[in-house]
């Protein structure tokens, strides 16, 4: 079975909940046939912000060995608890444990994402629209941090291209810029006067990168709504780039003609480039990128492995960078 890419919903239509549920049932039936006994062919719950608040499971199409190449990996998953307690989310502090300690202070209900810039139909998506209006699917991706550690995470979300198409990008739309929430009151990292980041955190992609089927807008992981410390309620996941590109808690998406500056590029352009593709051949001035520690590691086994070009997604994305000098455009 091939998992279809397209959701098949006209971009103008906001699907009613019952229609959504019917379609989900159909899909689960199909997917279930391919994945007998999968725990992730999850329970029926009505979606929406209330489901987020209750921490219930969200319905989605599970990833399987039959999913398109790159959507799934048989590598062992980093356990849920570890994915939730080891985070870089500097809005809540720079220690890996800070986000788990402090992110609960951020309120994600209500939440909306503004989409504007070079689009024909600028507008706002409420969280309910997002959860009910897109087909949620699972993607099991490797996540490679520039600090040379990595995880394998079962995300849940929908292709960014599905979202962008609804707002009808114009011919001027060459890049996509993303903004994290700015909330000094509840994000202690944004209050720090010794931080060199100019908040809010911003990231960007080239249009063809944004439209690549691997590029995911994730609303959950492990079949559950996104934990705050992982970027609730909605974040980007770009598995062939270093983790800092996968911006969290997005509240604005802007399409632009000129290449947007990104937060890390603004602080240290000699260290962090716009592209930030995982590349073992181009060393970062701080961390060797040749190998990585796959988490969880233990004291006796660092679980070290060689880092792969494009984090192992070369087949899906190498063509995007044809003719580019990746040692210069790092």
């Amino acid at each position: 079975m091939r998992t279809p890419f397209k959701s098949g919903i006209p971009s103008s239509e906001i699907t009613s909940e019952s229609a959504w549920l019917k379609r989900r049932q159909l899909m689960t039936a199909v997917a279930g046939g391919a994945l007998v006994g999968s725990a992730l062919a999850s329970a029926l719950v009505s979606p929406g912000a209330s489901a987020l608040a209750a921490g219930q499971s969200l319905r989605h199409r599970p990833a399987t060995a039959n999913s398109p190449a790159g959507f799934y990996t048989t590598e062992s998953l980093t356990p849920y608890e570890d994915v939730k307690r080891y985070n870089n989310f500097y809005e809540f502090g720079t220690d890996k444990g800070d986000p788990a300690r402090h992110a609960h202070k951020m309120s994600i209900d209500p939440w909306s994402v503004r989409v504007d810039g070079a689009v024909d139909k600028p507008g706002v998506l409420n969280l309910e629209d997002i959860l009910t209006g897109f087909d949620l699917e699972e993607r099991v991706y490797r996540l490679r941090c520039v600090e040379a550690w990595s995880m394998v995470v079962p995300w849940m979300g929908f292709p960014l291209s599905d979202l962008l198409k609804r707002f009808q990008p114009t011919s001027k739309a060459k890049y996509v810029q993303f903004y994290t929430l700015l909330d000094r009151e509840h994000m202690r990292g944004q209050r720090s006067f010794t931080s060199s980041i100019d908040w809010p955190y911003v990231e960007g992609l080239r249009m063809d990168e944004a439209m690549n089927p691997l590029t995911l807008m994730a609303v959950g992981l492990y079949g559950k709504p996104m934990p705050n410390q992982n970027g609730a309620p909605i974040r980007l996941v770009v598995p062939w780039k270093y983790g800092f590109k996968s911006i969290k808690s997005i509240f604005r998406i802007r399409l632009t003609q000129r290449r947007p500056k990104t937060s890390w590029e603004l602080i240290a352009p000699q260290e962090y480039g716009f592209y930030a593709n995982v590349n073992p051949q181009v060393d970062h001035p701080r961390w060797s990128q040749k190998t990585e520690r796959r988490l969880p590691s233990t004291l006796f086994s660092p679980n070290r492995r060689d880092t792969l070009m494009f984090n192992g997604y070369g087949e899906q994305v190498a063509h995007l960078y044809k003719g580019m000098d990746l040692t210069r455009d790092y």
Partner: protein, 202 residues
């Protein structure tokens, strides 16, 4: 009472290592225990360096001369923690590949600084006993002034690894700066009183 101070300090200095190892074997250090352990041990090496450098000023202020007898142990523990820090780095980050250590030392300024600090501390640790102190005499003092260079390099090591928030690194750097400034001031005072004495002699 006086006799108990040294063994007590010895145990206190071992406490951070013991509690970290305990946490590690009980899976309390998170999904990347090697990194966590390395960072924590590095932080304790820095704190012990601060403690070592605090001995002189504390003695001057308190007048309690016997404090000096604790300095050697603090310095040795600093070196011990720094060596464990280095070993953990070699184990978890480099898999004990010497080539890669060399590459790290050459290519990454913050590692060059940390490693040079450790190299400076190595002969200090080796010559810290009383016999060497007697044998080297004046040279011993000269040699052990290397600890000031180590303090500067450790500050650089910490400042250089900051990604975006300088808060903690600045606190360390400020403490080291104060400890060194105190010595500079004392040296100046000695110099001027010495030259005053010379003037009087003349």
């Amino acid at each position: 009472m006086q006799r108990a101070v040294k063994p007590l300090l010895f145990l206190v200095c071992l406490l951070p290592l013991a509690s970290l190892v305990w946490a590690a074997v009980n899976y309390q250090l998170g999904p990347d225990p090697g990194e966590k352990l390395m960072l924590e041990i590095g932080a304790w090496a820095a704190r012990l360096l601060i403690a070592t450098l605090l001995v002189s000023p504390l003695r001057t202020w308190s007048g309690w001369v016997s404090l000096l007898r604790l300095r050697r142990m603090l310095g040795l523990f600093c070196f011990f923690y720094a060596s464990v820090h280095l070993s953990l780095f070699a184990h978890f980050y480099l898999g004990w590949v010497a080539e890669r250590l060399l590459e790290e030392i050459v290519e990454r300024p913050y590692i060059s600084a940390g490693f040079t600090a450790w190299l400076i501390m190595l002969p200090l640790a080796l010559t810290s006993n009383r016999a060497m102190q007697r044998r080297l005499r004046r040279n011993w003092q000269r040699l052990h002034r290397g600890v000031y260079a180590a303090a500067v390099l450790v500050s650089l090591h910490i400042l250089w690894q900051v990604r975006s928030d300088f808060g903690e690194a600045l606190v360390y750097a400020l403490i080291f700066a104060l400890l060194l400034a105190w010595r500079l001031m004392r040296y100046r005072k000695k110099q001027s009183s010495a030259s005053n004495a010379k003037l009087l002699d003349a």
